[in-house]
């Protein structure tokens, strides 16, 4: 079974398997924002995972 959470950056739908473990990283398919899973009294929630700055050209 999959639970769907909303990306806070773009409102996209992030599919999370319900047997997810605390600390797993998920990214939003629409905008690429990365989240870390944490379990808040039994409920699966997301918090921003920091993205290492890549070389983006100029």
């Amino acid at each position: 079974m999959v639970i769907v959470l909303e990306c806070s950056e773009c409102g996209g739908r992030i599919k999370i398997p319900d047997d997810v473990l605390e600390g797993e990283i998920f990214s939003c398919p629409d905008c690429g924002m990365e989240y870390e899973v944490y379990i808040n009294n039994g409920k699966v929630e997301l918090k921003h995972a920091e993205i290492e700055g890549e070389d983006w050209g100029e």
């Binding site: 773009c10 629409d30 924002m33």
Partner: protein
Amino acid sequence: MKVSIIGGSGFTGGELLRILATHPNVEIKMATSRRYVGDYVHRVHPNLRGILDIQFTDPSTSKIAEESDVVFLCTPAGVSAKMTPEFLEAGVKVIDLSPDFRLKNPGEYERWYGWKHPRPDLLEKAVYGLPELHREDIQKADLIACPGCMSTAAILAMAPLAKTGFIKQSIVVVDAMIGSSGAGATPSLASIHAERYGVIRPYKPVGHRHTSEIEQELGLLAGENVKVAFSASSVNIVRGILVVCHCFTEKNVTVRDLWKIYRQFYGNEPFIRLVRDVKGIFRYPDPKLTVGSNFCDVGFEFDPYTNRIVALAAIDNLVKGAVGNAVQSLNIIYELDEKTGLMYPGIHPV
């Protein structure tokens, strides 16, 4: 269905042959060319060698009408206005890739094309062939006027904003950058490699004809007149258009609002991809990422410093900017899945 292509030797004609060659529901009856009559198409379009085994022909309009259910017109400005009436009378549907029937208001042809339209009565009958905006009308149409390549990009970039009132009483500025295939296959001093290579050439900083189409379509969405300050420059690629559109607004907008506005407008359009990534090296639309595909990548950003929404769109000028809209319209008219024959992944890197 049986289709014929009038003007098959140009880049648009060649691209139409490429897409139709692998379209499951289409039988190509004729591809005409006065200059190359009798030659095999792969002599002019080498990528079609081993794919299409037909020759260019140059028969009369009536002969073409007899053998075709639909004709695609890839002709220079002014030719389709003469040919189309004959085809329509013969009961043949016309998908016109030339500018002759794009504008509703005949006066606009005089202003932007310095040309008195010979059949203004047909302008009302013609449907602007941009499926994302006119799907229902296209379905019932006999005459489709496919949009200009840069108009396609600019309209798709700003349509959601026009619809939600962000383009009210203000001028939008549009900078379009386009590849050399947009100038067509007719040789000129400006297009020989030694002169065209490596340019960033503002070839039409003012008065570009596509302005009228963009104003027409955004005006319909906004419900009032829209003024577009359009400038076009050619850059060092062959295929591709990027438009950077500057829309000034008093309203305060967040990126999340923009995602909402664009998602609502484009829902699950098969060929629109919303591109505003927060990481990686492909964060905004870029035509390099659409080459050979029918996708229009649309993106956006908000500049609080100047209260400006920057709307971006990238397409392959020969596919979504021309034959893609034409073949989408064909699929809509014949109630096929709109993606038929068009769902190519782009070529990357290229």
